[in-house]
Symmetry: C2
Subunit: 343 residues, 2 copies
Amino acid sequence: MNTTFLKACKGEEVSYTPIWIMRQAGRYLPDYHKVRSKVTFLELCKAPELAAEVTLQPVDILGVDAAILFSDILVPLEAMGLTLEFHEKRGPVFPEPVRDKAAVDRLIVPDPEEKLGYVMDTIRILRKELKDKVPLIGFSGAPFTLATYIIEGGSSKSYFQTKKMMYEAPDLWAALLDKITDCTISYLKAQAAAGAQALQIFDSWAGVLGPGDFAEYALPYVQRIIGELKGAGVPIIYFANNGATLLELAKTSGADVLGLDWRIKIGDAIARLGQDVSVQGNLDPCALLLPPDKLEQRVAKILEQAKAARGHVFNLGHGILPETPPEKAKLVVELVHRLSKRM
Amino acid sequence: MNTTFLKACKGEEVSYTPIWIMRQAGRYLPDYHKVRSKVTFLELCKAPELAAEVTLQPVDILGVDAAILFSDILVPLEAMGLTLEFHEKRGPVFPEPVRDKAAVDRLIVPDPEEKLGYVMDTIRILRKELKDKVPLIGFSGAPFTLATYIIEGGSSKSYFQTKKMMYEAPDLWAALLDKITDCTISYLKAQAAAGAQALQIFDSWAGVLGPGDFAEYALPYVQRIIGELKGAGVPIIYFANNGATLLELAKTSGADVLGLDWRIKIGDAIARLGQDVSVQGNLDPCALLLPPDKLEQRVAKILEQAKAARGHVFNLGHGILPETPPEKAKLVVELVHRLSKRM
């Protein structure tokens, strides 16, 4: 098996820098559209054969060093008893936002094999199909990020309702986050048991919190998840998006790898983080629009700076954009492999 | 006149910390709604008597130490020849996005007194009405932020079209940004000539750029504006929103004051910036939901850390939210005054 990705996560020696791309199984690939045209997004998440098919596409097309399960961070919230809809323009919608004690009390902590069995089935299919070609990454949302969706009823600009609960009803906030955390722990444990060889926790909206609020209202739940998962024996990646001011706190999550968005110079991040953690990132997804020579310069710059890290997994600093030409994604993979071998 | 605000901008000694609030003339005030209900948003911007009326409201109601002109950063783009619409849900819309050379060539650099005279008229009315009670702040958008709106055709999530032009057509980008910069320079000069006693440059979307891109594609235009405005003799505030990783670069803009969003600990920002610049900020707008005792703790923490700054203007880290109870805004002003006097 190509274990380069797993080695970089743990800070072990590698002969080149491994790369995978957030949302690598997705809308920029014509092959994805072929599958997706037959079903809705949520149906695709729940159809293990199809979800496995789109998961494998970028492994073959791009030559990345890891596969990541095709799914969505919000499906466990549906399993907790909420209605989840995906609207073409608005994105995810929870028609009945969770904003009071009764709504929090109604949430269940599901048995993942029972309520989210389709995810574990997808993982089991993938492990067979991948035949140990590259490792398979499982994932979940972080409790704070998941909470924002169900409190706001979807995406938000100001996160007013979320912070309103945090500030005005801290006990209710803690009760809600504890339940989401319990659900996430058993969900990620089930993914590892089904065969996921690494786990990424996406804290997509962590960056709307200042360091004080992040430390008080978001981080403790991530720490609990990662603490509980140590026994699973798989590397854990924590990605606090837009989290330049949260880096030192994010490190206390206990993750093996910290994901970095493109807003920070990777060299600066590594200098602040030191040598007990690996890093993942952080090319601006829009940089894939650059002409090849300029793209190569950017990739080289990141690789050069990241030599100082304990371990480096190359990635974009955010999900690949639907408008990206697939050949540019392929080029990034080739560049990372070629340039890092030379270094 | 209450010159506390102007003194803090220049780093001169003050007996208490001055405060104003971004969007202090706005939707959280019932008094604002009374005026706004009679006209559209754009009509309000263009009616000097009404714009002056809403500008004055927070000075009387909250007791802030500066007034800020009621207007919108996008009106100069309309004066450059573009159609600007405000939709209730989508926000600002430019129905004909600027994406090629022909569209850039069509843009004019307007004479501000001719095409934006209503802004200067508002300023002249305000200076009379304020009777030197508190200073009046004028403002503009920064060229990068203004460019995003006309390239994307409104707000954006990924700023794909903006970065596409930056990366694929750097000469076109430079031509567009130069024109916007020329317009902004004469616009801000006209505001100062009409009586604005300080000027803030809002770079609301600077935070979507990594430091390298910010230095190459956004900062030089801000530097040119501020360089040209030195002769106007008014303090200049530059607010690169979500710019924790851009601080040292933002300082090279030449601004007297740097605005800080709430994502960074103000003490950390001051330590990085040193003593040649004042700072403005940076309470999370959502913190106004906290119970009074906890709100007081947060205000005190910011004031305590900001004692290390050359000068400090208290503000929120982003515009005040429409959902904010006005009495909480009033409380923040009282707290800042009371606590800083004690320190």
